[in-house]
């Protein structure tokens, strides 16, 4: 209800001005609230799509020419071109033909008859394997193999006139004498070494390796070496797989056993490593290597799909089960690995298609087969955004797929995940690497780092600033208070970048050199202080001490504290030499504690963050203490209480809401401080409470990673999720603090 109405105000002008002021202030307040809400809405809006489910949209269908059925097709591939208008499907047939189908119009654009190397016509194809990057490994009926690359036609022209893709042969191996292989794989490394492994009918594996090298005379020569693996996996081997460079060979048997061989550069084969993958001895029906050639995807006869990778064991590295993906209902017949991320496409005998992301074990898509037309072959587009399926009758379907953000799930963000190459599940934050990198987006080290940094900063800042505020407002003279307060508030005006810079480059080496003295000073300072107080009881009898006690006690205490510090420095040398053989940091690392000392650690962060937080807490606490009416203190002292009793029992409880608010505001500032933490820690995402090493906070993480995150990508949205987490943290703490503050207000009266 307005206090001023037209009747109570002397003039109309004053009333109008009052009304105007009210509107302006209300507008200002409402704008502030609206902007905060808008900011929160913005960051939540960028974060929410992270949890959007994956999508698939059917964009085209076609049919094979009548002379071919689905059973003639050995493999299919999809070439999306630059725009979706150029989507073409590639189909390899048993007769040795490559059929190119335009997937948008459904028309066959071309058919190429292929011949094995060195022959004009002749045998057809027995097996075609699609590899990432548009490459295909072809096994001919006479045992010869070719590695071909499909090169997209010239872009730019409209789809109808675009030239069909052309083939480029990358490697060939000659026809095999003797029994024809049941299955074979061919790979060519970037250095030019060709490796072929063929599974012969009697269960042995024939390995051929060709390396093109320059000999001393400068001529190119091809050195080939052939070997046969006759180990007692026996006739049970069902499937083979090899990595992109031809260095590791994997095999799966019908008893559920995985075997691994290392193929060396000079043609030798390392010892076999066996892993009994399935205790119930179910057959392994499909193998594929994930992007990066570290994890092996294994599909078995009962529809299970799992990934394995080598992990450190007592003797070298052994294959270990890493992830279990969504199981199929019948045996897995084909696994295709994505060329863009760690996802897998799998097809079972029933014809159902699954698309899964391995690290987060998320099932992205599941396309059941139509009842009479099970899918027989599938292919994934090179950029991972298109899916082609061929059924037994020869119908083709193309979907445009969008996996959303498959790396992110509640478990990968907040739980322990087993990453490729690691020995055990862990909380890891490491987002960037080469093209086949597995993003590790665990927020746990970041939240831990934020809490750790804030804890040490508040541990340093809160006692100093609260006691300082108490002294400045209550125990010292008003003139001194008027001098101290502005000086402390000037501390708040130092830019945090400057503080971070000074702390990182000047304070860190000093603390590193004097760490033992610093730790001893935590003991000597209180001891010297107490000793001085005992001494003071005798000195009090002199007259000049009365002047000191009227508010200038700190002048006398400064030399005492300096003496305590000097004592610590003086003692540090001899103590370190006697107890720790002259090197305290070495003892920390090698002794029973096993702690590493890092130059950029939480002690210097506590100083830096404390420097920014102390003026805030000091200011607000001091204000609230001074606002307690002096009449209360006077009454208390008149009744015979000492200064300390009055302060502790009368003034402090009355001011407690304000002091609590001061601490909470300081906490909010410490949690959100970015530049100091960015410059003075090493931004190391570790989970360790020790104050002698660094950490990585949510705020510094955003500052460090956001220039690198592509807009709208997974990392970008996860960084906004970090911002949402920071907001929630501060909001929860502030709300709880406000509730406590209201309660304290009601309890302790009028302020």
């Amino acid at each position: 209800m307005p206090i001023l109405t037209l009747k109570t105000v002397s003039s109309r002008k004053a009333w109008r001005r009052d009304k105007l002021a009210r509107w302006v202030i209300t507008l200002g307040g409402a704008t502030v609230i609206a902007s905060v809400v808008a900011i929160v809405a913005l960051i939540v809006g960028v974060t929410v799509p992270l949890f959007r489910p994956p999508r698939a949209a059917l964009v085209g269908s076609a049919h094979l020419p009548k002379s071919l059925t689905g059973n003639d097709v050995l493999c299919c591939g999809i070439d999306l071109g630059i725009s979706a208008d150029n989507a073409t499907g590639l189909l390899w047939t048993k007769g040795g033909q490559l059929v190119v189908v335009d997937l948008c119009t459904g028309k066959v654009r071309g058919r190429q008859q292929l011949a094995p190397p060195g022959k004009a016509g002749g045998p057809g194809l027995r097996q075609v394997e699609s590899l990432s990057g548009g490459k295909y490994s072809l096994l001919w009926s006479d045992g010869a193999m070719s590695l071909v690359e499909v090169v997209a036609g010239k872009p730019g022209a409209p789809a109808a006139k675009a030239s069909p893709p052309s083939l480029r042969t990358l490697a060939v191996t000659p026809a095999m004498k003797g029994p024809l292989p049941r299955a074979a794989v061919l790979r060519r490394s970037e250095a030019g070494a060709t490796t072929r492994a063929a599974l012969l009918p009697d269960g042995t594996i024939s390995i051929l390796r060709q390396v093109a090298a320059e000999n001393m005379a400068g001529d190119q020569e091809v050195r080939s070496s052939e070997s046969v693996l006759r180990e007692d996996c026996g006739p049970d081997i069902r499937v083979l797989s090899m990595d992109r460079d031809g260095n590791t060979l994997y095999a799966g048997t019908k008893d559920g056993v995985l075997a691994r061989w290392q193929l060396k550069e000079n043609g030798e084969v390392g010892p076999r490593e066996i892993a009994r993958a399935f205790p119930d001895r179910r057959a392994i029906t499909a193998l594929a290597l994930l992007l990066g050639d570290v994890s092996l995807a294994v599909g078995d006869a009962q529809g299970g799909l799992s990934t394995w990778f080598p992990v450190k064991a007592e003797t070298g590295r052994r294959l270990r089960l890493a992830h279990q993906l969504r199981p199929h209902r019948s045996a897995v017949r084909q696994i295709v690995a994505s060329g863009r991320n760690k996802s897998l496409l799998s097809l079972d005998d029933e014809g159902t298609l699954h698309w899964d992301y391995v690290t987060s074990e998320r099932s992205l898509l599941s396309l059941p087969a139509e009842p009479d037309h099970p899918w027989r072959h599938v292919a994934l587009g090179q950029r991972g955004d298109a899916l082609l399926a061929v059924d037994a009758a020869g119908a083709l379907r193309v979907w445009r797929i969008d996996g959303g953000y498959p790396e992110v799930s509640f478990h990968t963000l907040f739980g322990k995940v087993l990453y490729e190459g690691y020995d055990a599940p862990a909380y890891v934050w490491q987002t960037t690497g080469g093209e086949d990198f597995e993003p590790k987006l665990s927020l746990v080290p970041l939240v831990f780092g934020t809490l750790k940094g804030t804890f040490y900063a508040m541990l340093f800042a809160v006692p100093l600033s609260l006691f300082g505020a108490a002294y400045a407002s209550y125990f010292t003279t008003p003139t001194l208070r008027q001098t101290i307060k502005p000086v402390v508030e000037i501390m708040a005006s130092v830019p945090s970048v400057v503080i971070g810079f000074l702390v990182a480059l000047w304070l860190a080496p000093i603390i590193e050199r004097w760490i033992f003295a610093f730790l001893i000073s935590l003991l000597t300072l209180p001891l010297v202080f107490v000793a001085f107080l005992c001494l003071w009881q005798y000195l009090r009898r002199m007259d000049w001490t009365k002047r000191v006690e009227s508010g200038y006690e700190f002048l006398v205490l400064v030399p005492v504290l300096l003496a305590g510090a000097a004592l610590a420095v003086w003692l540090a040398g001899p103590l370190e030499a006697r107890l720790f053989a002259g090197n305290f940091r070495q003892w920390l690392f090698q002794g029973p504690l096993g702690m590493r000392y890092d130059q950029r650690n939480n002690i210097i962060i506590a100083f830096g963050l404390g420097f920014t937080v102390i003026p805030i807490i000091f200011s607000i606490a001091e204000d609230s203490l001074s606002n307690v009416p002096y009449s209360m203190a006077a009454a208390s002292m008149a009744l015979g209480a000492s200064r300390w009793q009055t302060f502790w029992r009368v003034v402090l409880p009355s001011a407690s809401p304000g002091i609590f608010a001061a601490i909470m505001i300081g906490f909010g500032r410490a949690v959100g401080e970015t530049m100091i933490v960015l410059m003075a820690t090493g931004n190391t995402p570790i989970l360790d409470w020790s104050p002698l090493n660094g950490m990585r906070t949510l705020s510094a993480n955003i500052a460090v990673e956001i220039p690198e995150a592509p807009v709208g990508g997974t990392l970008y949205r996860v960084l906004f999720l970090c911002a949402v987490l920071l907001f929630l943290l501060t909001f929860t703490v502030n709300t709880a603090a406000e509730l406590v503050r209201q309660h304290l207000r009601k309890r302790f009266g009028q302020f």
Binding site: T432, G433, M679, P707
Partner: protein, 330 residues
């Protein structure tokens, strides 16, 4: 009146100082001759003006600034702005059109090229501009003779893909005495950096960095960190070397000899961490680049540009490579 020197002494000192001063450009020219034999002089053309923005690598930031200054002297109507927060900032800038030049100390990843192609309709053009050696720095007091690449891998990574054993103290790396029990303190770049990705691919064999690698915001910050930390080791471009640190010789494996990080060794292939520095531009196939961009790149590849490369501590391109790059500009 008593003065510090007599008149004769003052004249002698003055002449001696003047002669020393004259000798300095002579030193400079000798260095220039070594580099400039590979490239031709730049020929000025008319009609070059406008704004040029460069967003990308921190390794190249000094180089871009020197080139920009020298180019500005030739064409006073050109305004060039250089920003270097890390190689990963270059592709988004080129895609969005906020920069015409994208210096990067690594190649673009396939998904960055895809995103570029999606926006523009053609793939980005990569122009090599200088050679760099990625050096591994230790404190100047560190007596280690050198390291093999597997040792570097196991010092910096937690996956240790090269198969060497884990190294946590300088004693594990082969030092004795007071250094033997000192834990190794790691310094590196942050993830926006091309140097970070290059080192991960070539030294760590695409493994993961240890969590304890302290991420520094720039190449110079890594060197400063190592200079202040006795147990420190870090990686950065050779151009950032100071007298407070040592760039140690590296060997590819146990059987190869330790080689110093020099450009001659990088070109020969004996130093394992040599790399090329690039500038990416958006050049539509069949059409020439905008005149300002093309002339800037011609300047960079000419004798004057390559001299600046030498001045900043990087390696000039061999003649054959310069020819290939000029072909790309056509």
């Amino acid at each position: 009146m008593r003065t510090l020197w007599s008149r004769r002494e003052a004249v002698v000192l003055g002449v001696a100082g003047f002669l020393c001063f004259l000798a300095l450009p002579a030193q400079q020219t000798r260095a220039d001759d070594a580099a400039s034999s590979a490239s031709k002089t730049y020929e000025k053309v008319s009609g070059v003006d406008g704004n040029l923005n460069s967003i990308g690598s921190d390794t190249l930031i000094n180089l871009m600034t020197y080139w920009a200054e020298a180019f500005n002297k030739l064409y006073p109507n050109v305004r060039i702005q250089v920003e270097g927060k890390g190689s990963a900032t270059a592709p988004p800038a080129l895609i969005a059109g906020t920069a015409q030049l994208g210096p990067m100390s690594r190649r673009m990843k396939p998904d960055e090229e895809d995103a570029f192609e999606k926006k523009h309709g053609f793939r980005p053009t990569r122009i090599s501009v200088a050679l760099d050696c990625l050096a591994v720095y230790v404190h100047k007091d560190n007596p280690i003779r050198g390291l093999t690449l597997p040792q570097v891998d196991c010092i910096f990574s937690k996956t240790c893909k090269s198969g060497y054993r884990e190294l946590t103290t300088w004693g594990d790396a082969g030092l004795t005495g007071a250094w033997a029990t000192l834990p190794i303190s790691l310094y590196g770049r942050n993830s926006a950096s091309g140097t970070y990705t290059y080192f991960q691919e070539h030294a760590l064999l695409k493994g993961d960095y240890k969590d304890t690698v302290k991420e520094q915001p720039g190449s110079a910050a890594v060197v400063n960190g190592v200079a202040a930390d006795r147990a420190g080791i870090g990686y950065s471009g050779i151009g950032y070397r100071t007298s407070e640190v040592r760039a140690i010789p590296l060997a590819k494996d146990d059987k190869s000899p330790l080689t110093e990080p020099t450009f001659a060794n990088a070109l020969r292939g004996t130093y394992p961490l040599g790399r090329t520095l690039y500038i990416y531009v958006a050049k539509k196939p069949g059409e020439p680049l905008p005149k300002l961009v093309e002339e800037f790149l011609r300047f960079v590849l000419a004798r004057e540009g390559q001299d600046i490369v030498v001045k900043d501590g990087y390696g000039p391109l061999p003649a054959k490579v310069i020819q290939q790059q000029l072909e790309l500009l056509k």
